[in-house]
Symmetry: C5
Subunit: 89 residues, 5 copies
């Protein structure tokens, strides 16, 4: 899973009908200190995540399981709100 921060939301009126009731979150992968690394991605919310929160994002076919509907065309879903990252490097 990716460690990411929610940085915004995406509005899309015209979309696949199976996505109509989903909240689309704009996210960006972060390192344990919160520094952005890598590109932006859009993920479906499943845990009522909000802008500014650090989250866990699952990608690929597993994202469909997170959403709970195996036939929804998604490839990224927020599956957890991160309270703390304990690093011991």
């Amino acid at each position: 899973m990716l460690l990411a921060r929610i940085v915004g939301t995406v509005v899309a009126t015209r979309k696949d009908p199976r996505l109509v009731s989903s909240k689309l979150l704009l996210a960006r992968a972060v390192d344990p200190k919160g520094k952005a690394e890598g590109n932006y991605l859009v993920a479906i919310d499943t845990v009522d995540a909000g802008v500014g929160e650090t989250v866990l994002i699952v990608s690929g076919s597993s994202a469909r399981l997170a959403v709970g509907m195996k036939d929804v065309p998604v490839d990224a879903a927020v599956v957890g709100i991160v309270d703390a990252v304990d690093v011991a490097e």
Copy 2:
């Protein structure tokens, strides 16, 4: 999902017969301000997207669900037209 902009179309006369009725769109991932990031990719259209529009692209096995035929050999599909991206960084 990727935030991307449609930058063109791809013509391929000789192709897998299951792709014959599909529109092939050339896309490029963009950041929330519309700046290109990363390489080009070719996605199947499912929402009547046009050149210049910002869209959502789903990748991997989920793209087959977007196309609505589980046995079509595609790995990227446009599943939404983006109206707005609200960023709060």
Copy 3:
């Protein structure tokens, strides 16, 4: 899907028996102008593609559908010969 150019072929006598009748093509992702971008990959041919041609490559589990045998261990397949790329950036 990736836009790629076929740049060669790969010979492998000792291989998984399900790959014996497959042609292995060496490909490289290209941008719409034909400039190479990214690393090389090896794809199974399904449309009689030749060296020098620009093609569409499907990756991941969908490549198995392209090959038409769901139990063949491949993760990249050529599914189309590109005639033209119309870019309107």
Copy 4:
């Protein structure tokens, strides 16, 4: 699979209910000499791995098999503790 080092743990109280009993490990890909390469990722533990250990991480749909529950929304799992890497370059 990735060669990675466990560098910490992730605490997430609010998460998908199927992840409640899982240990979330923060990992980073390493080269054979232990030098970090690439971004951080979060993986589910399946072999009682600890911070500082070098491990094998499986990604994608195969991670669900590692966890032993095909409907758990995970995309990375630790499947082995690495004792030694023998390099002959």
Copy 5:
């Protein structure tokens, strides 16, 4: 598939029980001239590959088919020994 060179082996005593009888090879992607490109990965051997050989590696869910057991948690497998790469760039 990736063109890669086997550069070593990985020893992991404590691991998922389904991996116990597998040989774990350390590999690195190479270009057609044998120059390393990209990061290291660990792949399961299925064709009796040895250190120093150039091989074909299949990734993702297809690697499970290569291993011949659909429930083994692997995401990379060696499926061929490369005899020659003919490049015509």
